[in-house]
């Protein structure tokens, strides 16, 4: 391993540690409350060692660091009137080889009551060892105190589909990367947000968006899978004879708007997609798409960060940390799926699941949402409606 050899010759002796001084600075138009307490976490890229330092006077001093590549992250939240305001910032993979001063910009987001509860993109394998992707699902939960109508809700993955370094898109200067996210595909619950009220979601209820809302445990599919026949929504393309239209309500594909061929199967990458959801504020239009200036072919749909309800950065492994697609203001962290040995893994049947913050007196679960996936999510074997999430009243086919 050349990396080891390289570090052997370059390893400094124990006395030559360095100091990193991280100054926290509020982004424009952001006012940080006086009582905010920021704990900044530094993660060493090679050793994965984490060091927490509480900032004083908005400055966190990391003394005695072993020189290397580090990622710094912080977030602080205030909850008032069922709305949580989160202040967060991060600096990804910076080389700290000598005493260094860094500035971390703190931006702000408000957490909405709709949150992504469980994201199952990892998929599994059949007993024959073949990938089984059809059981992918995404559960969205009403984490607040009020009923939300999900009519017209949009959910999709950001570009690039895989967080590989190669995809260096240039969507144009009118879309600053801190202010927009770039969707590669958007699935939409039928209806117009704010107008249609067909699909109410009460606090403590969840909806499940499925690739294929069927009972996957039948012998013809995959007996080792799960039963998704109670899923509220699915993707169904009428010319696809590989799949059967189930009672679940069919999602609409909002983007791409007019693809050149039918989109048969709604797959997200097992390597970790960046997922985000929002209520659109205007109609989808071909004129509002962005085209990559580098290859001239790739397209995306830019959506302002300000209307994103929730976003989660899932990656394949630690090598992709620097290729994050979700801006820090939406998700200061990231997550990847590992197998039982702690190794990054695809198709091992694991979901990323939001942690429970508290349980109310009537037994309803409140999930943790600090806009930091590293903090908020954990890995669990896939399961729908865990923690007693309820089925919405209009879902008549769920038993």
């Amino acid at each position: 391993m050349p990396a080891v050899l390289f570090s052997c010759t370059k390893t400094p002796d124990s006395t030559s540690t360095v100091t990193a001084t991280v100054k926290l600075e509020a982004a424009e138009e952001v006012t940080i409350p006086d009582d905010a307490v920021f704990t900044v976490t530094a993660t060493n890229f090679d050793t994965k060692q984490e060091i927490d330092v509480q900032a004083e006077n908005m400055t966190a001093v990391f003394a005695g660091l072993v020189p290397g590549r580090y990622t710094f992250m912080t977030s602080f939240q205030v909850t008032e009137n069922a709305t949580t305001t989160i202040y967060s910032g991060s600096i990804s993979n910076t080389n700290i080889l000598e005493d260094t001063e860094l500035t971390m910009t703190i931006s702000v987001t408000e957490s909405a009551s709709l949150v992504m509860k469980e994201l199952y993109y990892n998929a599994s394998k059949t007993s024959a060892g073949k990938p089984y992707m059809k059981e992918q699902f995404y559960e969205i939960y009403n984490n607040g105190e009020e009923t939300v109508y999900v009519d017209g809700l949009c959910f999709g993955n950001l570009m690039p589909e895989n967080a590989t370094g190669k995809a260096n898109y240039d969507w144009g200067s009118q879309y600053p990367l801190t202010d927009y996210v770039f969707f590669g595909r958007i699935m939409q619950v039928p209806g117009t947000p704010g107008v249609d009220k067909k699909y109410p979601l009460n606090p403590g209820e969840s909806i499940i968006l499925c690739q294929y809302a069927t009972d996957h445990t039948v012998p013809e599919l995959n007996p080792d899978s799960i039963d998704l026949s109670s899923g509220e929504f699915e993707w169904y393309e009428p010319t696809n004879t590989n799949q059967t239209d189930q009672p679940a309500i069919n999602l609409k594909m909002a983007f791409p708007i007019n693809p050149s061929s039918p989109y048969k199967i709604w797959n997200n990458t097992s390597n970790g997609p960046a997922l985000a959801m929002f209520f659109p504020v205007e109609e989808f239009s071909i004129d509002k798409m962005a085209t990559d200036k580098n290859n001239g072919v790739s397209i995306s749909y830019p959506i302002p960060v300000s209307i994103i309800l929730d976003a989660v950065e899932a990656i394949k492994d630690e090598t992709q940390v620097q290729n994050k697609r979700v801006p820090t203001s939406l998700d200061a962290g990231y997550i990847w799926v590992t197998d039982d040995n702690g190794e990054p893994a695809i198709q091992v049947g694991k979901s990323i699941v939001r942690k429970v913050l508290e349980t109310t007196e009537d037994g309803r679960v409140i999930l943790q949402d600090t806009n930091n996936t590293t903090e908020d999510f954990e890995l669990k074997t896939r399961e729908i409606r865990r923690y007693g999430a309820k089925v919405p009243s209009w879902n008549t086919w769920a038993n």
Binding site: K130, D245, N258
Partner: protein, 942 residues
């Protein structure tokens, strides 16, 4: 040129020749052929030819030959050929007064000779532009297949031998386009080979491509609709190869690009044992020419085995071949000799299950097992103008099996065997199904009783087998007439007839119900097809050609003009061809030619498979109780046969100049122009889009243990489209080939040969193309219009300039030859042009009819989505590679009389230049190929 004008130009020549005769003294020519040296060993079965009269004979046991009835006083050309010996080619003047007796002493051909020819040689002017490649060049190049030899032709790029993919031949082609290789005739000892009955493919009608199901049969090569795979032809018994690039003689048909003519070794030879090694390739062969007693003729036997691995890391993925054959040459009398050959070949392309991928168990194999029988005879008539008659009969049989099996995931889907178009059946055979209003949903037409219908499992074994039994028979006769008018004018006329029949008696494309392929897009699906149900294709051809030569002083005028008529299953084509040249002062030749070449459609195009569609009207999906499962499917079947399919033709024109500099050193330039406007294609037309009603049902009530109650949810419109064979492929080419052969400079024992070509090709399709963009919103793939773009919308170009310098140094005394080949690709560029993005017509989603498209409708709600939202800025930008220079080294050394070793290293300096793509920014492209080397060791055991 109009074919009729050519006929009228040729006829007077033929007539004029018949009327005029002239009295002349007749003499005999006798002689003996001996091996060079002091022992005066006679060589029997040497072929002695009198040219240009085209008289041939073979020598008897004492090496003697005799020609009678030759014109006294004439200057004739005598050629003596014998396998393993250097050909003698000389001019003699026949004396009218004394006995004409000559003794020819033949030198053994090996690398001890002063002059070794290890490059392609240009042929004589006045006939088709061609390159001749002899045995020495094949040995020195260390070619493994016929395709490797083609790199000696001017303008071809150096390439590494690769026998893990089909090796198809192509001529004057940059991209090895399947249409070019399909139109390249391969002629083995007078017998044209055929790939016309190759049907080792999945449905061309459904996919629009002739790809084999086997991954490594290489989609781009399109083997089934391309040329003959030359891997089954062993090179060990090949004496010489001629590549006709220009306008071929009318004798050659069923081709568009050109012809590759292979001559086998015939005659007594030592036992030749050869071993070759390449990276991941091993080969061994034996060849021997025997004399069968005093009057039994000669028999040449050869056998060869080759094994190659696709990639070093995948040893379970490999190709092996075995060939064996014999040629029996028999001299029955001074005027009659025959050759009869039988060759068997076995090839197996195989990928066995990867031991590290138990999940997929992907296995593929492509097996050929066949034989080729060929008999040819030559009768020296020499009565009047008729000099000789050649005849031949060929019978080839190839048994092929292509198989692919794999544990596939996402292989679920509706599968049906229903063969009744318009019928609606369910997975409950013979049982009608009604909706909740009492209306019958099913339409159980006669013939649907036994049809199988099911929703196949998601993860399962998928296995397709394609059995082909290709039969090819050919019978031919050719008459050669010759007349020397003794006034400097000579006429040689050939006329002949040719019959070919191709068919396939294989079981065809088959699979079991459980392992059937999963359905395709837009309701398209597969059916079993038996090839023995497909008719044979028969070709009958007639041709005549006159070669007119007139000498005046030191100048010569040559005109060869001919015409060929082909009848292919009732389709007719008349193809005139002409080549002319004038040589001034025996030094400068100016030449030109024009001709039409025609290639028969293969069975793929003549008898395409039907298009099948299975459209589910209701699917219950999988149920834990199978009694509750219900699938109702409507089947539509369309014939894809095109009765108007024409024979594809290529118009070839060329002009050139040959300058003899001094001695044998010469410079040749050839400019050519080729236009094919009606090449074979698989296309969709507005008529192959069918709008069909899709009534969709939903279950209003699930019933435990029995079928659900159905209600009509709505009726939609769905598109069903498929591909039909057509004549819309357009291929235009122009180029300039050059060859500067400086021959050998004895002082430095080195010869120089510079050759190359500039080529420019364009590809387009003279048919409509379609936009099938999805209409935004629910069911957008059903209720949408189809946009129709104008024909030839996209034209793709490729341009290349390649120059190759071959420097050969030889030391005869020690039998050593080394060749350094340096190839400069100064220009390599490809680009496309787009005519318009506006539709010319549209197909209506309401009635399925075609209407004109008014550009004013572009923003209409009904049409805006048909336009591609993004037009890439770079789509017309050219991709231009940087110039490259590669070096190959080949060397051969004779060790004593009995052993020879050869070594080669391709890209010997391991040059892999990288450049920044000029079309896709940020993309780097690596050129060249890895260093590739190998060696041959040959033993000659006397």
């Amino acid at each position: 040129m109009n074919p009729k004008t050519i006929i009228t130009a040729v006829l007077p020549l033929l007539l004029g020749f018949c009327i005029a005769t002239q009295a002349q003294e007749r003499v005999e020519l006798e002689g003996q052929v001996l091996e060079a040296g002091t022992e005066n060993l006679p060589l029997d079965y040497a072929v002695v030819s009198v040219l240009p009269a085209e008289l041939h004979t073979v020598t008897d046991a004492e090496g003697r030959f005799l020609f009678q009835d030759l014109p006294g006083g004439a200057k004739i050309r005598i050629q003596v050929q014998y396998v393993g010996y250097k050909t003698i080619d000389t001019l003699v003047t026949l004396s009218s007064t004394r006995v004409n007796r000559y003794v020819f002493r033949m030198e053994t051909e090996n690398f001890f000779m002063d002059e070794v020819v290890v490059t392609a040689k240009a042929n004589e002017a006045g006939e088709a532009t061609a390159s001749e490649i002899n045995r020495q060049a094949i040995d020195h190049l260390q070619a493994s297949s016929l395709k490797d030899i083609m790199q000696l032709v001017p303008g071809a790029v150096m390439s590494n031998s690769n026998l893990s993919n089909p090796n198809m031949l192509s001529i004057r082609s940059i991209d090895n386009d399947p249409l070019n290789s399909m139109g390249t005739a391969l002629i083995l000892d007078g017998a044209q080979q055929s790939n016309n009955a190759n049907l080792q493919m999945t449905s061309a009608t459904a996919n629009g491509s002739t790809n084999s199901p086997l991954y490594y049969q290489d989609a781009s090569a399109g083997n089934s609709a391309a040329g003959v795979d030359t891997r089954t032809i062993s090179l060990d018994n090949v004496e010489s190869v001629e590549v006709i690039r220009g306008i071929p003689s009318a004798e050659y048909g069923d081709l568009t690009s050109g012809a590759v003519i292979v001559k086998s070794k015939v005659g007594q030879t030592p036992l030749n044992v050869k071993f070759s090694a390449r990276p991941e390739q091993y080969q061994g062969s034996l060849a021997k020419g025997l004399r069968l007693g005093e009057k039994g003729g000669t028999l040449n036997l050869n056998a060869d085995f080759l094994y190659t691995v696709k990639r070093p890391i995948e040893s379970y993925w490999n190709y092996r071949r075995f060939t064996a054959g014999g040629i029996w040459a028999m001299r029955w009398s001074d005027g009659f000799d025959t050759r009869t050959s039988l060759n068997v070949h076995y090839g197996l392309d195989r990928r066995t299950a990867n031991p590290d991928n138990a999940a997929s168990q992907l296995q593929e194999s492509g097996r050929d097992l066949g034989f080729k029988f060929n008999h040819t005879g030559n009768i020296n008539v020499n009565k009047g103008w008729l000099k000789s008659i050649e005849y031949g009969a060929t019978f080839n049989y190839t048994d092929r099996l292509s198989e692919k099996s794999e544990i596939a995931s996402s292989a679920s889907g509706i599968y049906s065997t229903n063969m009744v178009s318009g019928s609606i059946i369910s997975n409950w055979p013979g049982q009608p199904v009604y909706d909740n209003g009492g209306n019958e949903i099913t339409n159980l037409l006669p013939g649907t009783e036994d049809a199988f219908l099911d929703n196949l499992s998601d993860t399962r074994l998928v296995k397709t087998s394609i059995y082909g039994k290709e039969i090819y028979a050919n019978a031919r006769v050719k008459l050669t007439f010759y007349k020397d008018w003794n006034n400097g004018i000579r006429n040689k006329i050939i006329a002949g007839a040719d019959f070919k029949s191709d068919g396939n008696l294989g079981k065809g494309k088959v699979y079991d119900n459980e392992t059937a392929p999963s359905p395709g897009n837009s309701f398209s699906s597969e059916r079993i097809r038996h090839y023995y149900d497909i008719p044979f294709m028969n070709q009958f051809s007639l041709y005549a050609e006159d070669l007119y030569k007139q000498t005046f002083g030191r100048n010569e005028f040559v005109l060869s003009a001919g015409v060929r008529y082909d009848n292919i299953n009732g389709k007719n084509i008349v193809a005139p061809r002409a080549n002319a040249s004038i040589t001034l002062f025996d030094r400068v030749t100016v030449r030109g030619g024009y001709g039409i070449t025609a290639k028969a459609p293969s069975l793929v195009y003549l008898y395409p498979e039907n298009a099948y569609f299975d459209m589910p009207l209701y699917s219950s999906g999988y149920k834990s109780d199978p009694a509750e499962e219900l699938y109702i499917v409507k089947t539509n079947i369309y014939s894809a046969e095109n009765p108007d399919l024409k024979i594809a033709t290529n118009n070839k024109a060329e002009a050139g100049v040959d300058i003899r500099l001094w001695d044998d050193r010469r410079l040749s330039l050839t400019a050519y122009l080729e236009k094919m406007q009606n090449g074979y294609s698989l296309i969709r037309t507005p008529n192959t889009f069918h709008l069909v009603d899709l009534p969709r049902y939903t279950a209003v009530k699930e019933n435990a243990g029995t079928l659900p109650e159905l209600e009509l949810e709505g009726t939609y419109k769905a598109w069903q489209s498929y591909y039909v064979p057509s004549n819309t492929a357009v291929r235009n080419k122009k180029g300039l080939e050059f060859e500067l052969d400086l021959g050998r400079f004895d002082a430095i024992r080195t010869s120089f040969n510079l050759s190359g070509a500039w080529m420019r090709e364009s590809y387009s399709d003279n048919s409509y193309s379609f936009s099938e963009n999805i209409r935004p919103g629910q069911n957008g793939s059903l209720d949408r219009n189809i946009g129709v773009y104008e024909p030839n919308r996209i034209v793709s170009y490729r341009e290349r300039l390649v120059t190759t310098l071959r420097i050969t140094h030889n030391i005869p005394k020690i039998g050593f030859v080394v060749t350094l080949t340096s190839q400069l690709t100064a220009l390599d560029k490809s680009w496309s042009t787009y005519s318009t993005d506006m539709f010319t017509k549209y197909i209506s989603r309401i009635d399925g009819k075609v209407y004109d498209f008014d550009p004013a409708m572009a923003d209409d709600e009904e049409f805006y989505y048909l336009f591609d939202p993004v037009i890439p800025e770079n789509r017309e930008w050219p991709e231009k590679a940087i110039p490259t220079l590669f070096f190959n080294l080949t060397l051969t050394k004779e060790i004593g009389d009995a052993m020879r070793i050869s070594f080669f290293a391709n890209n010997m300096f391991y040059n892999r230049p990288i450049y920044n793509s000029t079309k896709n920014r940020k993309t780097l492209i690596e050129l060249g190929s890895d260093i590739f080397f190998g060696f041959d060791i040959t033993f000659n055991i006397r």
